[in-house]
Symmetry: C3
Subunit: 391 residues, 3 copies
């Protein structure tokens, strides 16, 4: 038995390399592979609007609690630092009111260091910019990701039968990709369980018939959402574009207990989805589960968007946890931001910092040297997305 | 593309402010919003009794493992420090035997810095103090939280039918609140699944009939526990008192796989529970899920009791994780202590320290300044409870 | 109200004692209570083979991502340090090709500081050593753990009926133990759900009849796997050997969503399994759940094998999380290594380091003094296994 054990190579947890990594990545224009459009400006911003942007809650009573969250406090401080004002709601709102809105917005987007936006227009509250407006408003290249459920809902009226409808979905997805969409996004987790299971054809037919009879058809339930998701997965595999799947946290529409990415297992086993690139969005608090899928299946990728920024320091911790099993060649950078430029700015800052903390720690522990960590982070910020999306 | 990225404002993980925060909070008499009564004294304490207090296990074989747990070692050390003896079981037990029991108990409770106890008398092993005895024994204000299942079991004999029984539950809850109870606590997780679902009325009727025929009726099963919980939730909303729900870890009675707070979703969506204040107790290891619910629903609150102290350092880590999404205006301080004053003392110390570590870290990371952290901790220690309970 | 609060005894997170602990443990020959046999040498090793050893994936596309994982980078660095070569794939592979394979292997196994291997031969790809070969190849004592499903599949042909088959399983388990097996291992999680539930006898009978008709019978499904597991649990209790249950992460055969150890609850409640020692293997990301079971049931034990090394730094974090509720008298050391000596070496290093980091932190926080931490680690490395296995 050899009695010696060299310990000189064992490093410690360390934040030491954070500034170096951030500085090295400052020249890296990120691909934000999952975000939503801004609202049109000028926009009279009230405290409630700013708060609403930093929570997924739509409960007015919750807005009183937002100032007592780590993400909102961080947002006030970072915005104040950027603009040289006090880190308080009134100061930020005043500064904003006094700024030229286009200039203010472009400034925040530029400071987000984003080089390409992949935009999902499927969630568009009144006042949201169109793609054309968005492209004009921001001096940043932009591509579209098509939202499956929105596209599919638009086809219900003209399709009498469920199989016709699913065929129409295939046709329209192909058309969307031909017209420039670089991916498909599904919010099945908001409308059904993510525990994918084969649905009885009769149940699907009946559900579709009921849906068509309703005055304002809104897709929901496993009977329709699961077959739809599977059809989209087949088409994405065939068309060579990634399928983004919302997993984990979201708004109150969703049952988080049904939103683990582990429920997507049928997409990973069935040969009909061969070649599919599956991108798991958000994932938190199932990020270790998502990382496990990324460690097993060549076609699975993930991000921690939404959790970063909303879970603040715990989002950063989740990213470090995910890097336990997830190869950094499969981790993607995204903001999931929408509506206000403040959110893009804060999401970008917190995401880059979370990456810097996680990779600094890997350097401290002797897993990577600093140069390798810089390169790994560059892949997360953009290289990986440029490899898996048809950009 | 702007190439500069200021990193001067990015702080690091830090325990640096822990002593300052603990000192600042020392003057804050906490509201322990969830605990249980002491046993009557004098009490001849054996090692097995002390160990049994620091585990939820009732398996005698487990007691041999308790001294190899982080919480028990911590408890011995903290008690030894408090009393100036050796940190060993025999020393602690000897010191205890030599002390005047009332004085010893009051000393430990006072050192817990608790200013108000909200007591659940529903779990009362032989030798437990009554509320009157408890009030006389301790110079600390005390209020009662009524345990739903205990109250409901007491009404079975006189109610032939399940609807009469549920009506009687409503009446008795109202009476309890009128007599001073400040909240209702449910241990549905010990008797049924927490995945709340509507129960078929016939199944509920049959289950009730079976229950009444048993010689010692013990409520169990979704058919009875879910309707009971929903009735209690309606009454709590109407009476303006919080409903405490045991979630996450507990004793061997419970199936932890069925005890996630996410199963309470029906209480959060159905309009019949509007205005309900729902307090999720313990939560671990579903604390990130609980924090997510707290981030979405104005009426949801949480604590990390039981996990702190039983999960020792991981309880503190869980509290930091929960502060990712949970506003600190919705996090409550509690011990879940029972039986022996040692447990109140240790729970209090570890909880304050966990808060100090979590908030010190937020200060280190530049989320809060020190003054704000002091104030946030004060809210957790008492302000939040004083706002949501009718005290 | 006492206003003072001593903070002098509150320690901080600390890696400070890591070198001391590793040095103290260097003389401790570990019991690797769960590992698999090596492949026969000489073995021409390609990059793909080395990579394949550090992932559970069998997807060729995944092998391109393995070099972008923390565990693989760590492995390259540690091997390079051990052999004084460059930390790159080509260097390691060249060095290996130039070495005498037996010597190279024995060197790595010796540097793993393992004093006893408990080997599961149930997974044996072509070229795997037999127990006799393995004993001859390595100068380390070795014992066998019998794999339930492999043993049971071997009995199908000669058993017409399911009850005869289950009886034959009992007989063969007893024979295996009499011939020296020190435990039984089940991979039910790879073949069925781990949510144990009573199966209808008719369903079990039908499933068995179907299985016998298939040309190459492969056990799968709850109808057969659950009764088999319960029979094995009864026999293990009777024979006084532990039952090892694969929980948590594994390969793509497994549905991780069905593999939580919480599903084993029936084994913990039913008196027919009294005295059973249940050893939860891997557990990640359900390690907090596993630790909870270890805190409640005297007969439950756990390890973090596979997660250490595959989850790299997050495996170490998981071990620290598990030590929240799991007594260190119930935590076991294991590598789950197989095939290549490199994996045994890396698993051993990362496991000892994870233990050192976790216990250093407990020392830093004032839970243990350094001497106690040394002793606790020794128990994890070998003492606990020597107590629960009939060695």
């Amino acid at each position: 038995m050899i009695r010696t054990w060299s310990t000189t190579h064992i490093g410690s947890a360390s934040d030491r390399h954070v500034p170096t990594l951030l500085a090295a990545w400052a020249g890296e224009a990120a691909v934000d592979h999952h975000c939503h459009p801004l609202l049109r400006w000028p926009l009279a911003l009230e405290a409630a609007d700013l708060r609403a942007c930093f929570t997924e809650s739509r409960d007015p009573a919750q807005l009183e609690h937002v100032p007592q969250t780590a993400v909102y406090r961080t947002a006030l401080r970072r915005l104040a630092l950027a603009f040289g004002c006090q880190p308080s709601e009134p100061s930020i709102l005043t500064l904003r009111r006094m700024s030229e809105p286009g200039q203010y917005t472009r400034e925040l987007i530029q400071r987000s260091l984003t080089g390409l936006l992949l935009l999902d227009f499927g969630y568009a509250p009144p006042g949201t910019m169109t793609l054309a407006e968005h492209r004009q408003a921001l001096p940043v290249p932009q591509r579209e990701v098509v939202r499956l459920e929105t596209l599919a809902e638009g086809l219900i009226e003209r399709c009498r039968r469920v199989d016709t409808w699913l065929d129409a979905v295939r046709t329209e997805l192909e058309a969307a990709v031909r017209q420039g969409a670089v991916g498909v996004k599904t919010i099945a987790a908001y409308r059904a369980s993510l525990r994918l299971a084969p649905q009885a054809p009769a149940a699907t037919r009946d559900a579709y018939a009921r849906l068509r009879r309703s005055p304002r058809p809104r897709l929901a339930g496993d009977e329709l959402c699961h077959p739809l998701l599977m059809v989209a997965a087949e088409e994405c595999a065939r068309l060579g574009v990634p399928l983004q799947v919302h997993c984990g946290i979201g708004d109150a529409d969703e049952d988080l207990g049904q939103a683990s990415p582990l429920g997507l297992r049928p997409l990973l086993l069935d040969g009909r989805f061969d070649g599919l690139r599956l991108v798991l969005l958000h994932c938190y608090p199932y990020h270790r589960e998502a990382a496990y899928l990324c460690s097993l299946h060549g076609g699975v990728f993930m991000d921690l968007s939404l959790a970063i920024p909303l879970a603040a320091a715990d989002g950063a911790r989740a990213l470090a946890e995910a890097l336990g099993m997830c190869p950094w060649s499969k981790l993607l950078y995204a903001s999931d931001a929408s509506r206000l430029p403040e959110l893009y700015f804060i999401a970008a800052h917190l995401h880059r910092e979370a990456l810097a903390v996680a990779f600094s720690d890997l350097v401290g522990r002797g897993v990577l040297d600093l140069e390798e960590a810089v390169e790994a982070g560059r892949q997360v910020l953009g290289g990986n997305a440029r490899r898996i999306y048809p950009l």
